[in-house]
Amino acid sequence: MLVTTLEQLAGYREVEYYGVVSGSTVRAKNISKDIAAIFKNIWGGELSSYTELLEETREQALQRMIKQAEHKGANAILAVRFATSDVTRGAAEIFAYGTAVKVEKHV
């Protein structure tokens, strides 16, 4: 599955259009990773456990979007965008969406 945030893919042309596909995940943080966060709240700095959580959440949202596109018969997703939000304390939602199409190589 080819995924891009642009409206075109290099060397391919669009042959069929399947509409907007999306994937979203909400994940809660693991409490045991929180000890470092208590210190970070005093002197600041990167909360690496939160960053990891966000990265995993984003990967899963992307995979869900890709699965939806595969189900429709697409082989590429164009104009991908992300939307993030704080659902509740210690939980993050990432929503990925894009346009599913079928592309083939330029002759």
Binding site: T4, T5, Q8, G11, I42, L47, T51, T84
Partner: protein, 139 residues
């Protein structure tokens, strides 16, 4: 009385340690930005005619604000005006996320990232999360 003392300790630890960590982070950022300054970022979406291969690249970072900044912000919120400490926090987070994005694009072998987007989110009022993404393009 004891609580006041503990709060004072937290605030001063936050100020001194926080400031040192912030300065160290900025120094580190300058080095990384210099190393990857050849990777161009564009918010535009048109692919160049000589593009060979593209790949989506995403980077994110969550930065917590220190105890002193949080306390100073609470006071400033009542008085009104610019929140310079929050501006610094946002700047740090944006630059860190962008530096990571550039590193990922370089690993892919690209010199440019097109369709650059930034998404920002507050974390519990005690920090900020910046999410940047785009498409790395190999010409």
């Amino acid at each position: 009385m004891f609580e006041l003392f503990v709060t004072f300790v937290f605030i001063s630890t936050g100020y001194y340690v926080g400031l040192r960590r912030e300065r160290r982070h900025y120094k580190e950022l300058l080095v990384r930005e210099k190393n990857f300054q050849n990777i161009g970022l564009r918010a535009t979406r048109r692919l160049p005619a000589d593009a060979q291969d593209t790949q989506i690249v995403v980077a994110c970072v969550v930065i917590a604000s220190d105890y002193f900044k949080n306390w100073a912000t609470k006071i400033k919120n009542m008085l009104g005006g610019g929140l310079h400490s929050q501006e610094i926090l946002m700047d740090r987070a944006r630059r860190e996320a962008t530096a990571r994005l550039r590193e990922k694009a370089a690993r892919f072998g690209a010199k440019e990232v097109f369709g650059f987007r930034i998404d920002t989110m507050a974390v519990d009022g005690k920090g900020v999360e910046v999410f940047v993404y785009g498409t790395a393009v190999k010409r």
